[in-house]
C-alpha cells in the first residue's frame, strides 16, 4: 500500500484533543464538565470535517494523512496513524456519533450524578475509537480496541438501568476474553513475519506480505475471527449485546451500537479478509450463510422483545448480519453494501436508541405496551422517528436501502437462491421495523395514559438532526459515499484474486 504523509496532523490531534479535554474536566469544577466535553468533541468533529478538503478522493485506496513514530525498533512497533477510504469513513462516523452522544447527554435526565467521570469516559472512548480506525500498527490497534472497553464498562455500570452491574460485567468479560484470541493472533502474525522475512513487525503493511499455508492461515483466521465475531456480533456469540445495549444509558447505547460494533466489522474486513484473503475465499460459503442466518434469527429475536431498548439492540444484530453477509460475498457489490451498511447502521441505530431514551424520559418505561401511540402530540419527534424507521427498514431513499439492495445484487452474482435467502433476511428485518412503527403510531393508548408530552427540542433536536440529515444523504446521494471506498474495494479484490494465483490449496 502506498502512503501519503500528512500535511496537518488531523488524526493524532483527534486522538489527543479528547484526552486534553479529560485533563481539563478532571481539574475544573463539575459544572464545566459537559461544556468542556461538548467543545472538545465538537472541535474534533469540525477537524474531521475540515480534513475532508485535504483528502484526495481519487486516491482513496492510499493511506493518507500518514504519520509514524517508532516505539521499539527491534519489534517494528510504532505509533502509525493514517486513513484510507474505509477507515476515513469510519473516522468521520466516530467523531460525528461521539459528538451526538455528548450533545444528547447534556439534557438527559438520567445523567445527574458523577458528571465529571461521565464526560471523561465519553471523551476517552472517542479517542480510543478514533485510534482503532486509524492505527496501522496491529498492536497499537489492539491497545485502542481494548481501551474502548474500559469507558463503556464504567458507563454501563454506573449510569445504567436496573441490571447494570450484571450487564457491564458480562460485556467486559465477553469482549475481553474473546479479544485475547485476537492478541494471540496478532503476535503470531508478527512472529510469522519474522520467520519469513527475518524481522519482527507489527506494521499492517509489512504483514500484508506474509504468505500462509491454508491450514495455518485457517488457524490464524480463526484466532482473529473469534474476537470480531463476538464484537460484531454474529448470532451464537451475541448474548452480551442486548444486555449491554439494553442497560446502558442512552448515550452509552448510542456509542456502543453506532461505533463500537463497527470496530468488529471494520476489523473483519481489514484484517480477516485483508491479511488472509485465501482463507476468506475458502470459508466464504459458510460465512455468507452464517451472516444470513444471523440476520434472520436476530430479526425473529427482535420481534419477540417487549423492551424497546432490547428491541433496538437486537435489530442491530440483524443489521450486522447484512454487513457480514455482504462482506464475505467478496465481490464489488457485496463489499460496497457491507461498508455502506456499516455507515448507515451507525446513523440509524444511534437515532433509534435516542428515540428509545427520549420516550423513556417521558414515560419512564421501555415496555412496548406502554409505548403505544406515544408519538402523538410530538410532531417533530414523529417525523424524525418515521425517517429513522424507514431508513432502517431499507426503503428506497432510506440509508439502509443501499446496504440491503447491493447485498442482494452481490448475492445474485453467485446464484439466484442465495439472493432469495438474503431477500428473506431483508423481509424479516422490514417486519420488525414495521411492528415498531405500528406500535408507536397506529396503536391507541387507553384514555388514562394519555399524557401531553413535550416535543423534542434544543440539544436533543440537534443530536437527532445530526444523524438524520446524514441518513438522508446516504439514502439520496450514495455516490458521495461510494467515492470513499470504491477504490479501496478494487484494491482489495485485486489482492484477493492475486492471492488465489496458483490455487487455493497451495
Amino acid at each position: 500500500m502506498e502512503l501519503v504523509p500528512a500535511v496537518f496532523p488531523f488524526i493524532p490531534l483527534s486522538i489527543v484533543l479528547p484526552l486534553l479535554g479529560i485533563v481539563l474536566i478532571v481539574f475544573l469544577e463539575e459544572k464545566f464538565a459537559k461544556w468542556i466535553a461538548l467543545v472538545f468533541s465538537g472541535t474534533v468533529l469540525v477537524l474531521s470535517l475540515v480534513s475532508l478538503f485535504y483528502f484526495d478522493f481519487s486516491q482513496a485506496q492510499k493511506v493518507q494523512f500518514y504519520q509514524s513514530v517508532t516505539l521499539i525498533k527491534e519489534l517494528n512497533l510504532s505509533l502509525s496513524f493514517g486513513v484510507d477510504g474505509l477507515s476515513y469513513l469510519m473516522y468521520i462516523l466516530t467523531t460525528l456519533v461521539s459528538f451526538v452522544a455528548i450533545c444528547w447527554s447534556i439534557k438527559d435526565r438520567q445523567i445527574n450524578h458523577r458528571l465529571k467521570e461521565y464526560y471523561a469516559w465519553f471523551l476517552l472512548s472517542e479517542s480510543a475509537v478514533v485510534g482503532v480506525f486509524t492505527s496501522w500498527d496491529m498492536l497499537v490497534f489492539y491497545v485502542f480496541y481494548e481501551l474502548t472497553l474500559v469507558p463503556m464498562f464504567f458507563v454501563i455500570g454506573i449510569w445504567g438501568y436496573k441490571l447494570r452491574l450484571y450487564s457491564a460485567y458480562k460485556f467486559f468479560v465477553y469482549i475481553f476474553v474473546s479479544s485475547l484470541f485476537l492478541l494471540l493472533g496478532i503476535v503470531s502474525v508478527a512472529v510469522e513475519h519474522y520467520r519469513q522475512f527475518g524481522k519482527f513487525s507489527f506494521s499492517y503493511f509489512d504483514l500484508l506480505q506474509n504468505q500462509y499455508s491454508l491450514a495455518f492461515g485457517l488457524f490464524l483466521f480463526l484466532l482473529f475471527f473469534i474476537a470480531f465475531a463476538v464484537k460484531t456480533p454474529i448470532v451464537p456469540f451475541h448474548t452480551w449485546l442486548p444486555d449491554a445495549h439494553g442497560e446502558a444509558p442512552t448515550a452509552g447505547s448510542v456509542v456502543l451500537a453506532a461505533i463500537l460494533l463497527k470496530m468488529g466489522t471494520y476489523a473483519l474486513l481489514r484484517f480477516n479478509i485483508g491479511l488472509f484473503p485465501k482463507v476468506a475465499v475458502f470459508l466464504m460459503p459458510i460465512l455468507v450463510l452464517w451472516g444470513i442466518a444471523t440476520t434472520i434469527f436476530a430479526s425473529w429475536f427482535t420481534i419477540s422483545q417487549s423492551n424497546v431498548k432490547r428491541f433496538v439492540a437486537y435489530s442491530s444484530i440483524s443489521h450486522m448480519g447484512f454487513v457480514v453477509t455482504g462482506m464475505f460475498l467478496l465481490n464489488k457489490e457485496g463489499l460496497r453494501a457491507s461498508i455502506m451498511e456499516m455507515f448507515a447502521h451507525g446513523l440509524t441505530s444511534a437515532s433509534l436508541f435516542m428515540m428509545a431514551g427520549f420516550i423513556y424520559n417521558r414515560l419512564h418505561s421501555f415496555n412496548m405496551q406502554a409505548l403505544r401511540g406515544s408519538i402523538r402530540f410530538m410532531p417533530m419527534f414523529a417525523i424524525l422517528t418515521a425517517i429513522t424507521g424507514f431508513s432502517s427498514m431499507g426503503l428506497p431513499g432510506g440509508s439502509s436501502f443501499w446496504g440491503k439492495f447491493l447485498t442482494i445484487m452481490g448475492a445474485r452474482e453467485y446464484t439466484l437462491q442465495l439472493a432469495l435467502l438474503v431477500l428473506a433476511g431483508a423481509f424479516f428485518s422490514v417486519l420488525y421495523v414495521l411492528y415498531l412503527l405500528k406500535t408507536l403510531y397506529l396503536d391507541v393508548k387507553e384514555e388514562s395514559m394519555l399524557v401531553h408530552f413535550t416535543d423534542v427540542r434544543g440539544f436533543k433536536l440537534v443530536a437527532f438532526l445530526l444523524v438524520v440529515v446524514p441518513m438522508l444523504m446516504v439514502g439520496l446521494l450514495p455516490f458521495l459515499f461510494f467515492s470513499f471506498f470504491d477504490t479501496h474495494i478494487d484494491l482489495l479484490l485485486a489482492t484477493i484474486s492475486k492471492s488465489l494465483e496458483g490455487g487455493l490449496w497451495k
Binding site: L139, I158, L180
Partner: protein
C-alpha cells in the same frame, strides 16, 4: 587445569560489589543501633535505611555500565544484575514509606524490621548477580531467613505465626532440595559454576538432570509454582501487608533471577524436555492460581493467588528457551513487581481504617469514601488483568509473542483461559469499588509520602505500558548478553 591457575591470587574488585556492601553496612548499622539503644527511634531507622539504599541506588545508576566478575567468578556484575538491583532497591525505598504507619496501627513496632529488610535486600541483590551454586545457596538462605522472621513480625496475630511456620518448613525443604541439587551438579561437572555445569558435556547426563531438577524444584518452592505453592497463600495472608508487598515484588525478582540465568544456558538437546516440564508447570500454575483466586472472599488472599498466577505467566515465558522469551520474562518480572506491590500496598493503607478486614464487602462503594485509593487500586487491578494501555497488557502480549515464537499454541490457548478466569475477580473488585453503594466508610488517610509513592507507581504502570522503549532498551541487550554466555 594447571596448578598455576588454581593458586592464582585475585585481588577482589570491590568496585563491582559496592551497592551490596552499602546495603550490608546499612544493615549492620541498623543492627548495632537496635542493640545499643533499646528504644530506637523509627524515624531515625527509616532515615538511615533510605539514605543507605539511596546511596547504593545512586552508585548503581551512575555506574550502570559496570561489568565484570570478582571473587574468582563467584560474583558477576552485568546489565542483568544491575537492572534487577535497581528495581529491588527502588521498591524497597518505596516500601519504607508505608511501614511505619501500618506497624503503628497494628501495634507491632519492632526495630528488627529494618535490619532484616536490609539483609533480605542484600541477599536478593546477590541472588541477582551470581552463577555460582554455593553463592546462590547462601543468598537464598539470607533472603529466606529474613522472610521467615518478617512474616512472623505481627507477634500477636495467630495467622502471622501460622504463615511463618509453614513458610519456614517448606522453605527449609526448598533450600535442602536446592543444596542437594547443587551437590549433584558438582558431581556431574566438578564445578559450582552454572555456566560451566551447563556447558559441560559428559556422556552420562543423569547427574545433570537430577541436579537441575532438584535445584529448580527448590527455587520453584520459593517462587510458589503450583504443586509446591502451599505455603504461599498462608504466608502472604499472615504476613504484615507491607511485608507481603515486599515478598511479592523484591522476593519474586530475587527468586526468579537464578532461573532466568539458567534459562539461556539450557542446551539445545534439552529444549524439548525443558519446554514440556516448565510449560506444564506454568500451565498448572496459572490455571490453578486464577481459578482458586476466583472463589476467594479475602482480598489479600486473592492477591496472593493472583501472585501465583503471575508466576505461572512468567514461567510460560521461561518455557520458551529463546531470547525473545527471556526479554518478555524480564519485562514481565519487573512489571509484576510494581503492580503486585502496588496492589498489596493499597491494602496496607486501607487496613488502617478501623474494622477493615480485607473482605470483598469492605470494598463496596470505596469510590465514594476513598476516591484516591479506589482509583489507584483500579489501575493496579486493571494492570494485573492486562488491560491496555497499562504495562500489564504489554508484558502479556510479549509472553504471547514468545509463545508464538516457540509455536507453543497450547500454552497460549490455556493462558487465554487463565486470563479469562482472572477477569472474574479483578473486575469484580473494580465493580464493587465504583458501581456499588456501600454503607461502610473506609477512613484510612494515606500520608503524603504514601500518596506520592502510590501515584508514582500507578503512573509508572501507565508510562511503561505506553512508552515500552524506556525499559525495553535495557532489557533487550541484557537478554542478548545472557544468551551469548
Amino acid at each position: 587445569m594447571e596448578m598455576k591457575d588454581l593458586i592464582q591470587i585475585e585481588t577482589p574488585k570491590l568496585t563491582l560489589f559496592v551497592p551490596e556492601l552499602i546495603v550490608l553496612i546499612t544493615g549492620f548499622v541498623l543492627f548495632s543501633l537496635d542493640i545499643i539503644y533499646k528504644r530506637l527511634s523509627h524515624t531515625l531507622a527509616i532515615s538511615i535505611s533510605v539514605i543507605g539504599y539511596t546511596l547504593a541506588l545512586l552508585y548503581l545508576i551512575f555506574n550502570f555500565d559496570l561489568r565484570g566478575e570478582t571473587f574468582y567468578g563467584l560474583y558477576v556484575r552485568d546489565s542483568f544484575s544491575s537492572l534487577l538491583q535497581v528495581f529491588m532497591i527502588l521498591l524497597t525505598i518505596i516500601l519504607l514509606a508505608f511501614t511505619l504507619q501500618y506497624q503503628k496501627f497494628k501495634r507491632s513496632l519492632y526495630g528488627e524490621f529494618y535490619y532484616l529488610l536490609a539483609f533480605s535486600l542484600f541477599g536478593s541483590m546477590v541472588l541477582a548477580s551470581s552463577y555460582n551454586l554455593l553463592l546462590i545457596y547462601t543468598a537464598l538462605e539470607a533472603v529466606s531467613v529474613s522472610f521467615y522472621i518478617l512474616t512472623a513480625l505481627q507477634r500477636g496475630d495467630f495467622t502471622s505465626k501460622e504463615g511463618a511456620f509453614k513458610y519456614l518448613i517448606l522453605g527449609g525443604l526448598a533450600i535442602a532440595l536446592a543444596s542437594y541439587g547443587a551437590v549433584f551438579l558438582y558431581i556431574y561437572a566438578g564445578s559450582f559454576d552454572l555456566r560451566h555445569v551447563l556447558h559441560f558435556n559428559a556422556p552420562d547426563k543423569s547427574f545433570l538432570i537430577l541436579g537441575l531438577v532438584f535445584f529448580l524444584f527448590g527455587l520453584a518452592i520459593k517462587i510458589g509454582v503450583v504443586p509446591f505453592h502451599f505455603w504461599l497463600p498462608d504466608a502472604y495472608q499472615g504476613a504484615p501487608t507491607p511485608i507481603t508487598a515486599y515478598m511479592s515484588s523484591v522476593g519474586k525478582i530475587a527468586f526468579f533471577a537464578p532461573v532466568l540465568r539458567v534459562m539461556p544456558l539450557v542446551q539445545e538437546s534439552f529444549h524439548n524436555t525443558w519446554i514440556l516440564a516448565v510449560g506444564t508447570l506454568a500451565v498448572i500454575t496459572f490455571l490453578y492460581g486464577n481459578f482458586v483466586a476466583l472463589v476467594q472472599k479475602d482480598v489479600k488472599r486473592m492477591l496472593a493467588y493472583s501472585s501465583i498466577a503471575h508466576s505461572g505467566y512468567i514461567l510460560a515465558g521461561v518455557s520458551v528457551a529463546s531470547s525473545i522469551g527471556l526479554k518478555a520474562v524480564i519485562y514481565f518480572l519487573l512489571a509484576y513487581s510494581i503492580m503486585g506491590m502496588l496492589g498489596f500496598l493499597v491494602l496496607a493503607v486501607l487496613e488502617r481504617s478501623g474494622d477493615w478486614e480485607n473482605k470483598l464487602e469492605d470494598f463496596d462503594g470505596l469510590k465514594h469514601s476513598q476516591s484516591f485509593m479506589a482509583w489507584i487500586f483500579a489501575i493496579a487491578l486493571l494492570s494485573l488483568l492486562g488491560v491496555p494501555p497499562t504495562v500489564g497488557f504489554l508484558v502479556k502480549a510479549l509472553v504471547f509473542m514468545s509463545l508464538a515464537y516457540g509455536k507453543l499454541w497450547w500454552i497460549g490457548i490455556l493462558m487465554i483461559i487463565g486470563i479469562g478466569a482472572s477477569t472474574g475477580y479483578y473486575l469484580r473488585l473494580v465493580m464493587l469499588m465504583f458501581m456499588k453503594e456501600g454503607e461502610r466508610r473506609a477512613i484510612a488517610n494515606p500520608t503524603g509520602f504514601e500518596k506520592a509513592s502510590m501515584v508514582l507507581m500507578a503512573a509508572s504502570l501507565l508510562i511503561l505500558g505506553i512508552l515500552p522503549m524506556l525499559l525495553w532498551n535495557y532489557i533487550s541487550p541484557t537478554s542478548e548478553m545472557l544468551f551469548r554466555r
